[in-house]
Amino acid sequence: MGAGLAAAVVPGCSGGGGGRSEALQVWGGVPAASGPADVVKAFQQKFPQYKVEYTRFVNDDRGNLKLDTALQGGVDIDVYFTYSQGAMALRAGSGLAADLTDRVRADPELQVYLDTEKPRSYIDNGKVKALATAREPFFVLFNEKLRQRAGVELPHAWTIDEFRATARKLTTDKTVGVYTVPDVARIALGPNYWYAGDRSNFGDPHFEQGFRLGREMIADGTAFPWTEVLSRHLDAYQQNAFLGEEFHLWSTAPFNLRYLYDAKKYPHDFKVAFAPSPTVDGKDWNGGSFSNFIMINPKSPKFEAAWAFVKFWLTEGATPMLKGGKMPALGNVTDDQIVSGMLGKEPEKYFDLDSFRRVVLTSEPKLATDTRLTGFPEITLAVKQQRDLCWIGEKDPGAAIREVRRLADAAIARNERRP
């Protein structure tokens, strides 16, 4: 990292609450070394009149609170990222995001951001407030060594029942077939699947089907025991169990590929192959979404520079983000760039490239990006709590989903009432 860039990428707070910095202040949740530093460097090379300082906030409750209080307290922030849908609704609806509609409308390259059928943007009351920088499709990873040992074929397309049968074939005395089941309801119902009119949609049978499938697979030993998941905090460290060959199948997203191409840091001796997410009742919505939304602080006095940076990131600058598994939302990168960016320096050594090309490069998964976000954090918690109770075997799937429905209805009603 050059001296100039070192000055441009700073850890912790920047700008302070006092005077405004001359440099454009960008806050994001991805560590600078995982891509943003290179984006900043490329931007400054192309636009030497602008200087950029990138500040990383940790994308958890505390990190987001830090960003919110900084935005609200007038800290010098021009551009920032939002990763959770719940935070997006709050920020966009509370005057913390500039209206980008005219800029997007005026730019031929950005017209897809006005599409409401396959939304890549967050539109609040008809105004574009946030633009997705990344697309993160879900797929299923196979540990090739274990798959071949079990004599299981790599599926090109499969149903959720075939997924379950495959997990059963892969389960041995020492290893579990799959970490966990994909989100059945999401695959069947697509975006905004939690909502139906002015109530929640948890009466749809696919929600109970998903809970029941997970519970049954845990009970018959083909999915990872949820008691282990909870007591080892495995949800945040799934990669460790996959690298440790504790399970064979991993339904996950591109950001986890970074653990698989660096065998020095994350030792393993197996290749990984890709399969698409299974279908449910013939429906094939992908559990992934357009994500990593970039927003401009409406209080920023450097709107032109901020917009130049945003547009650069969207249209030509996002390639360095591939190393962290962030595929550009506009798809404006070549296949070779994606392979070398997402799969490291020796892609053939750690990945089955044919399946990667088939599943990630040539297919066009139907990403389910949520745009309705009423009571989103409350519903997220309710789903997690009841799923945990169901999957540790303490609550019947039907009862668990009924409780989710009750809590979600209450959250929606309460939030709809708020001004």
């Binding site: 008691t227 909870l230 007591s231 954090p377 009841q386 109770l389 303490e394 001004p419």
Partner: protein
């Protein structure tokens, strides 16, 4: 007379001299200013903010202009909120079980460590260690120890045919946290009791020995009454601490499984920092504060009454 005059003159001079160089009241304030500023910034202002916000609907992100006063709306909602009452119930269980057990075990340990044991100083340090160890290290260690499948605790309990799910069970998660709280607090209690035991009146023990009093009689009549003020102090501080218990819950269970360990502090955190309902969370904070105050006063008065009667 001359002497008196001299003394008087000297005193007057000193007073005048004192007035001349005596620092004004502001100098005193300057000395305490750093601490005072800290108290104002980190205690007083947040306290007043909570008092005000408790009567509002506010999500932080909307800024000061987004504050909407809703009168007693939050308190009415709290009264009807099953999540709040569930959290209060869990907190009461946590307090009522963990605090007395910590005090009783701390007292026993304190008395044991007050006897002339070999390596007594080392033992005291060892028992006090849990109180000062970093909460993250404590949490991670217990998480491994209480792993239902491979943890040491269950490997031992397996001998007796018991295999609790600990943090992966909604029935065992709170007991596991209580065990950790007791483990962390007993050493502290024993150390406080130890210092109190050093102050116990020796002559009364000697008199009791001469009278042939039993060990239990000596404890009941001499030791316990002399330890009552310490016990009141420990009960009050432990009740307040346990009511605010948050760190280990956030680190280990995040309120789960389900809401099995969502005590009132964690519920308040969820409401404020996950749901961004800062007005409602402030109201919960206010209600909890009043509840803890009442509980503390009740404990204090009850124990004080007993101390006076004794």
């Amino acid at each position: 007379m001359a002497t008196a005059t001299l003394v008087s003159a000297g005193t007057k001079a000193r007073v005048e001299q004192g007035r001349g160089i005596r620092p004004s009241g502001w100098t005193g304030f300057l000395f305490i200013a750093p601490n005072l500023l800290g108290v104002i910034a980190f205690t007083l202002i947040p306290l007043i903010s909570v008092l005000v916000l408790a009567f509002t609907d506010w999500n932080l992100v909307s800024g000061i202009g987004g504050i909407t006063f809703n009168g007693l709306g939050n308190f009415v909602a709290i009264a009807r909120d099953p999540g709040f009452w569930h959290a209060i119930g869990l907190t009461l269980v946590y307090v009522v079980v963990s605090v007395p057990l910590t005090v009783i075990l701390g007292l026993g340990l304190g008395i044991a460590l007050n006897r002339p044991l070999p390596g007594r100083a080392v033992l005291r340090a060892i028992f006090f260690l849990p109180y000062i160890v970093n909460v993250v290290a404590v949490g991670m260690t217990w998480l491994m120890l209480m792993n239902p499948k491979a943890g040491l605790v269950n490997q031992v309990l397996d001998v007796f045919g018991i295999r609790p799910g600990w943090f992966a069970s909604s029935h065992w998660a709170l007991p596991a946290l209580i065990v950790m709280a007791i483990w962390g607090g007993v050493g502290y209690c024993s150390l406080i009791y130890l210092s109190a035991l050093q102050d116990a009146p020796r002559q009364l023990y000697e008199a009791a020995d001469i009278d042939g009093a039993s060990a239990w009689a000596k404890f009941r009549v001499i030791t316990w009454p002399s330890l009552l003020p310490t016990t009141i102090f420990l009960l009050v501080t432990l009740i307040i601490g346990a009511s605010q218990g948050f760190g280990l819950i956030a680190l280990i269970t995040a309120g789960g499984p389900g809401d099995a360990t969502t005590t009132i502090s964690y519920y308040m955190y969820q409401t404020g920092f996950q749901f961004y309902r800062f007005g409602y969370a402030s109201a919960i904070g206010l209600v909890t504060f009043v509840g803890v105050l009442v509980l503390t006063l009740f404990t204090w008065r009850a124990q004080r009454g007993r101390a006076l009667n004794d």
